[in-house]
């Protein structure tokens, strides 16, 4: 890139700031190139960094003079620094730095071992620092002053979205859940009642069997065939009734509490899950 191209690009990138500031900066850097001499042109371009980076620095300076950003940012030896995004200044805080931003900063700048550890998070525009590091610093700086607001907005947006979902979903979700619960409860009650009914029937069968047996025993003397038949049927019914009574009784004792426990667990699950996530 030649000086002319560099300056043209810089001018284009400075469109965002006032005309006065832009002309001032353009004059300064034109002078700078003139004074450096044409033989140093390439060196100067390399030193200044990309036009975008230089424009960022100039713009940050302009904002720093007019806005409240001044209280946060400062120009240091390594370029622009903003204390809001600078957490690694003191060695005491470096533990957090290595944990939190390993992937963001350290990861992008693999070859910074030769640099001193105190300047890793600074916003460097030093051209002789390695490319990865400079890029990481610049990117963070560039994003610095603008990312604060959208982040807040997005969290507010999330809350609004959740409320919307709740408001829209409530009339659907609540009746559905209630219906499902009632249905499950109904099925359980029906099962329990039918179990009880079968049990009653079994008991009744046994009772009928006993009565039939007694009656058959009485009939034995008048009509032996009928008597024996009734006795036999009575014994059979008694056996059947007894077996069913025992079976269903056992089933009820074991199954019904199991079913209810399952039902209660089903009701409790959503709350338990939430608690589990918190833990």
């Amino acid at each position: 890139m030649s000086r002319t191209e560099y300056m043209r690009e810089l001018d284009a990138l400075l469109q965002g700031i006032s005309k006065e500031e832009r002309e001032e900066a353009m004059q300064y850097y034109n002078d700078y190139f003139d004074d450096a001499g044409s033989e140093n042109e390439e060196k100067v371009i390399e030193e200044l960094g990309s036009p975008a980076k230089l424009a960022d620095t100039i713009r940050a300076g302009v904002n720093g003079n007019t806005g409240e950003a001044e209280s946060y940012g400062e120009y240091g030896e390594r370029g622009y620094r903003d204390c809001r995004f600078d957490t690694s200044e003191s060695p005491a805080r470096r533990e957090g730095y290595y944990e939190d931003s390993y992937s963001e900063t350290y990861g992008e700048s693999q070859s910074q071992n030769d640099r001193n550890p105190f300047s890793e998070r600074q916003y460097s525009y030093t051209a002789n620092s390695n490319q990865g590091y400079t890029y990481a610093g610049n990117q963070r700086y560039g994003a610095g002053q603008t990312t604060e607001m959208p982040r807040k907005k997005s969290s507010a947006g999330k809350i609004i979205l959740i409320i919307c979902i709740l408001v829209i979903g409530l009339p659907i979700v609540v009746p559905t859940a209630l219906g499902l619960l009632l249905a499950a409860f109904g099925v359980l009650v029906a099962l329990a009642i039918s179990a009880i009914a079968i049990w009653v029937a079994a008991v009744a069968t046994a009772v009928v069997g006993i009565l039939l047996g007694i009656h058959g025993f009485g009939q034995l003397f008048y009509s032996p065939v009928l008597g024996i038949g009734m006795l036999g049927v009575g014994c059979l019914l008694l056996a059947l009734g007894a077996v069913f009574t025992v079976l269903i009784g056992w089933g009820c004792i074991k199954l019904i509490p199991m079913m209810f426990r399952g039902f209660v667990n089903l009701c409790r699950r959503p709350f338990q899950k939430k608690r589990g996530e918190c833990r």
Partner: protein, 107 residues
Amino acid sequence: MVFNTGAALLDAIVLAVVSREQEGTYGYKITQDVRRVLDVSESTMYPVLRRLQKDECLEVYDMQFDGRNRRYYKVTEKGMAQLNLYKVEWKNYTRKITEMFEGGAAE
């Protein structure tokens, strides 16, 4: 350098560099002079000069040089006062740190 150079120290150094030239000096020379003591990037100087100019610590004027206009910077009275304040502060600061390092007069 291991130690960070804060905005105030950078201001002080720039003011000191500019104040050495009675007739004022220009951006490129200021940058080269400052870079003799500090490893600052060339792009750092412009915002600092611009800020000092806005704070009325520096004044600018254009002068013909080599058939073109060159912008010169000169320290104002306010700038001199500021520089003297910085010098006093720096003396106190470095004295305390030196004392601390060398374990001398610790009360």
